[in-house]
Symmetry: D2
Subunit: 232 residues, 4 copies
């Protein structure tokens, strides 16, 4: 496996995926990134943001918030069109990347290649998974983070940490048999501070979420409440 040159990310972490929501794109995305930056500064809880690929540079030049790409392609710099390399992500100012999100699944050989290339480029890797055996399989590839998201709960507002705690605890158990050190976070349906608290009490290092914050009427209030619950 590649030497891990990725920066250290302190946990717990609240990682906000802006997806392709209008509220997370362009000027609105920048405003949300600044909200996240304030909450991070005020609470000391790590908050990361994953904007659309076209906005990484904008957020990196205008905020200090840790930025993650939403996706990376398993290609080296060269003759590829519309692909996102580790070098482009790093060059634009992100510190890490999501991989294998349920809305952008990767082939297993490509996850392995991406994890290796991202480490060499100094990017933190967060591999998304959907159940205990897949979590275990991805843990064998030694990413920095595994983010467990049961697809049936994504976007429902029903929190995985409350509705399906056994998916989280089962996945942690499966993952630990294969990999002792990977950080585990969880997602799907996280919309309140108590969901974050439940996730951490189940043994995770934080949460990955999207609409719960991006689509919230008062994004700052929601994020602040989550961060406060992550601390205690």
């Amino acid at each position: 496996m590649a030497k891990d040159n990725a920066p250290f990310v302190s946990v717990p972490i609240i990682l906000v995926n802006f997806k392709a929501y209008l509220e997370g794109t362009g000027e609105m995305g920048l405003r949300l990134a600044k909200v996240a930056e304030r909450v991070w500064m005020e609470t000391g809880v790590t908050i990361g943001v994953a904007p659309p690929p076209t906005d990484i540079g904008l957020l990196a030049s205008s905020t200090k918030i840790p930025i993650f790409a939403q996706h990376m392609d398993a290609v080296v710099p060269g003759s590829y069109t519309g692909r996102v390399t580790a070098e482009a992500i790093k060059g634009a100012g992100a510190i890490g990347t999501l991989l294998n999100h349920s809305e952008n699944r990767l082939q297993i050989a490509d996850i392995q290649a991406c994890v290796e290339r991202a480490k060499q480029a100094g990017l933190v890797t967060v591999v998304c998974t959907n159940n205990p055996p897949v979590s275990s399989a991805c843990a064998a590839l030694e990413p920095d983070f595994i983010a467990i998201e049961p697809p049936e709960l994504i976007g429902t507002g029903i929190s995985v940490s409350k509705a399906k705690p056994e998916v989280i605890t089962g996945s942690i158990e499966c993952v630990r048999r294969v990999n002792k050190s990977v950080q585990i976070i969880c997602g799907a349906g996280i919309s309140k501070g108590e969901d974050v608290k439940a996730a951490i009490e189940l043994g995770t290092s934080g949460v990955l979420l999207a609409s719960g914050v991006v689509k919230a009427k008062d994004q700052e209030a929601v994020l602040l409440e989550m961060a406060m619950n992550a601390k205690s």
Copy 2:
């Protein structure tokens, strides 16, 4: 079909695809965009650049050069991860997008949806094709530009306008039976001013190229020679 809100692009055009080349990424990509801007200013010939998605914002805020995305996904703003919407492209400062590049082929229904969405968002569409019947099919979708690139010549340095003029003339003929107004450009193997001249003499509105400029030792000299040949 959608009303075309895309900006007017004067032709002939020289459209430079930065691909995922290191020479076209980050700071190096910005430098190349400034080279292109100077040649455009000096010669009056339209030069467009297509940087990696992560660099659109950087180039848009630092130059006046017309910027094209390399790719767009056929999705509306919403719950998608790692995808590039028309809104994100427009918001980052590009004026148009390549579609269906040979290194990022699209399903036919998605090309149609992208052309329609891009027009609504005010983006110029350049649909890449590989031979006369496919050019004809894509012309029926009424994009602004068709870019014909025989895949077997891409990256070879053997110019389509000289080695396969019949692909260009045959495609123009096929396209015109279906669509009288779409602009037609061509690519593959374009590396010299005379290749550009030959392309225009065959009846095209310009060229799409990549390594011929991006990988050139003296990018400015090559681009300047091309622009001079496009004028005459």
Copy 3:
């Protein structure tokens, strides 16, 4: 374009896609093919069946019904695994193939390659499309049949020929501007004889359907009623 060696198929045609339904797989699929064969014999109306790839040989050796593959890959015989070539389809006993079904969309360059290869191999091509501009684009590739299926109606039981006649007539008009001779059929929501009659009265050469027959309690009664309505 390739010389068309495909066999002549008399129209109107009722083309039944068995999909991956259990009722259309293995022994149950064979029984359904024999039902189709009886209705064809009794009424003289062409009925075609499209079973799963693994059942083409079984149906070809046990019935005389015209068989279509559900999908074909754009590859020549060679080093490909799990792909379906024109030669394999022909060798197993089918007379044609669906292409670009909404559940198995193809890139435009691959549709063109498949149409060309299928013609050379003597297979009838049926390219599925979703709206007027895509129908027009695919017609430019000169397949034998275009099958228009608005995706929003597939599997609903709401017949395209009754609910969206303008999609059919609009598509026919678009297609005829580009291609005078391609046969046009339509699908989505076809479940009764009157749907078939309406489709033919709108100017089509028949229908493509699936659940309306495959999932029917009395498959033979439904198919017979459809065939009777196709005749008149």
Copy 4:
């Protein structure tokens, strides 16, 4: 994980992928399957064949040789077109399936779903991998077999068991940390009896190969020599 209803396959095994080669399709594929059947009968060494999807039924009804599908899709019976379900594979007469071949890579979540569904349907699963970490990851999904094939050697005639023994031994070691019972075979460049012997001496349960047998002038002689070397 699913209860494993798959039939017992005795090892060592020589598994021959017919790919989309003309020599492995239709009548020629049937002839090759009969060659394999004779060698199996004569030597007692398990020989499996993986024909194109369209030929599974033909081979199953004409020979007793163990048949594997080349690929399976991660879908349940239902509204899918051109997909191959576990039920269709089983119904056509195969005993197992390759998964994730380098020419038909799957997303990690789909490999897991396929392994689970195949087991329920009583199919043996052979998951192809490209290097030690990916082998380890796939082993966590508990298939029956892992088939390690370094892509850079596939089709070269340079045997992985001789040219890259460390990929085999390294993969075995990685796999055993995660899974004690999965069978491990290897492929890429296997063309002679001594390649098979070397593979088994490195600790594998056999080989997966294609052109070495399918494209051989004397298929029977090559296969017989391989089987003899597998025995000793």
